[in-house]
Symmetry: C2
Subunit: 278 residues, 2 copies
């Protein structure tokens, strides 16, 4: 296949590297940053730049830029996209993006499905991208009434070739609700956690848990502001849920209520056991 | 040296294994759990049980049980401790423990210093203990007016032999203030984070950040309830600080205030950079 990748940051760059390392597909890529384009060509992550000329020959188009920019790119380039092509956006929110792109794809006659690879890093950009970023990860897709089995079979084979463990199907709504908790809330907690004045005085006093809590505070505020605002309803609800629970612990501590504190911790341990994860 | 270890859980068991793997010291250990004693002897983590008979011959005594139990153990066994011996408790809080043990040590004439190895795991007990738990970690000690240089030199050589990267000196007060933030608060956040109903529905939707946020929710509620209550003042203050910051993000989100949200995230990124860590 000819695979076009729009945006060669952490996500798009890792797609390019994964494809070139693990498959025989051709990759055409485009990034606004000239240095990124040079690096991507020099290290063989792309075969050639994506242009107005080769876009119509793309069989699969992966859009790996921010939600607003992704919608705008599709709007502008839809006339050059072949009716036989499949377009997948890789944005971290799905309701706003799918609602804007799906009607354009339907009108123009090409295939479209929303996607979100469950992989990331605390650093962004092409230099942080890696050919093994997606190994063992889950690829979320949001099929709709236009999605047929052949499209899903094609994408399944493609993503498994890149090292993904499997596909997870979701509605845009369910995706945005769960991701508000599993990813977005974690970024806000990290960002808030590091604001205690003690964070600057902690040297020699930290084991793994401080690192865990603050790893993703090293985030790109431009991107995350957009993602958070696109998911404001679910994210605000999760944030309020967490603040409520933290207040329970605070109240138990302040009252020196041993039994209550013990119960809260025990409940957390049990919920972690059923939620799973390391 | 003859090293006595009181409590063979994660911390004491790892001390025993580190000593036997990395030094030629003799280790005598004691644990209330009979199975732990059998395992510790079978795998060579201790040379013999610590008894009323050999305790007077111990040169170094490491007390690795909970704060209240540690104080009680020292109170009961002080008469059997040699005046030439050094006793170090490894409890996770220092004010209550040092305030109780230091006067006993002074009265009986043996050396005492509070300690806290900056290493841990989300699982406890002898089975989780490891001979490399302390590799690269910092060992916090709380010297006081009775601490002389010879004592510190002896302890420095001993802990470096076990793989520790170095010693960090602190007052009990400073220790408890910083640890409330770097460790205790992280445990409360993990325990609270996993309480969202979404935690139970997240399969296929999680990358690293959910894992980071909830790893230590798998805690021992008996131990942590005691540690938290012994550090209630500092921990409550940190919890209120965090709740305040989280509320700032919540307010910016709810108001859809792009600039404010962006500023909050930028500030977090900058503070993470100066705070350091992965």
């Amino acid at each position: 296949m000819n695979v076009a990748i729009v945006g060669l940051g952490l996500i798009g760059g890792s797609m390019a590297k994964s494809i070139k390392n693990r498959t025989s597909h051709t990759v055409w890529g485009i990034d606004l940053n000239a240095e990124t384009m040079t690096m991507a060509r020099m290290c063989g992550a792309i075969d050639a730049p994506l242009t107005e000329e080769n876009l119509p020959q793309a069989d699969l188009i992966l859009v790996a830029i921010r939600p607003g920019a992704a919608i705008e790119w599709v709007r502008q380039h839809a006339p050059q996209i072949a009716k036989s092509a499949i377009l997948v956006d890789l944005c971290g929110v799905k309701r706003t993006v799918v609602a804007a792109i799906a009607p354009i794809a339907e009108e123009r006659g090409f295939s479209y499905i929303g996607g979100h690879p469950m992989a990331g890093k605390e650093r962004g950009g092409f230099t942080a991208s890696a050919e093994d970023l997606y190994v063992g990860a889950s690829m979320i897709l949001t099929p709709d009434k236009r999605t047929d089995m052949r499209l899903l079979e094609t994408l399944k084979a493609f993503f498994l070739d890149l090292g993904f463990a499997g596909l997870t199907f979701s509605t845009p709504e369910e995706h945005d609700r769960i991701i508000a908790f599993t990813s977005q809330l974690a970024h806000i907690v990290s960002s808030a956690y590091v604001k205690s004045p003690e964070a600057q005085k902690r040297r020699g006093f930290s084991a793994g848990s401080f690192q865990d809590m603050t790893r993703v505070a090293r985030l790109d505020e431009d991107m995350w502001t957009e993602l958070f605002l696109d998911d404001e309803d679910f994210l605000t609800a999760e944030l309020e849920e967490l603040i409520g629970h933290l207040t329970d612990y605070r109240n138990a501590l302040r009252a020196k209520d041993t039994q209550r504190l013990h119960d809260l911790l025990k409940e957390g341990r049990e919920l972690k056991a059923t939620a799973g994860g390391n």
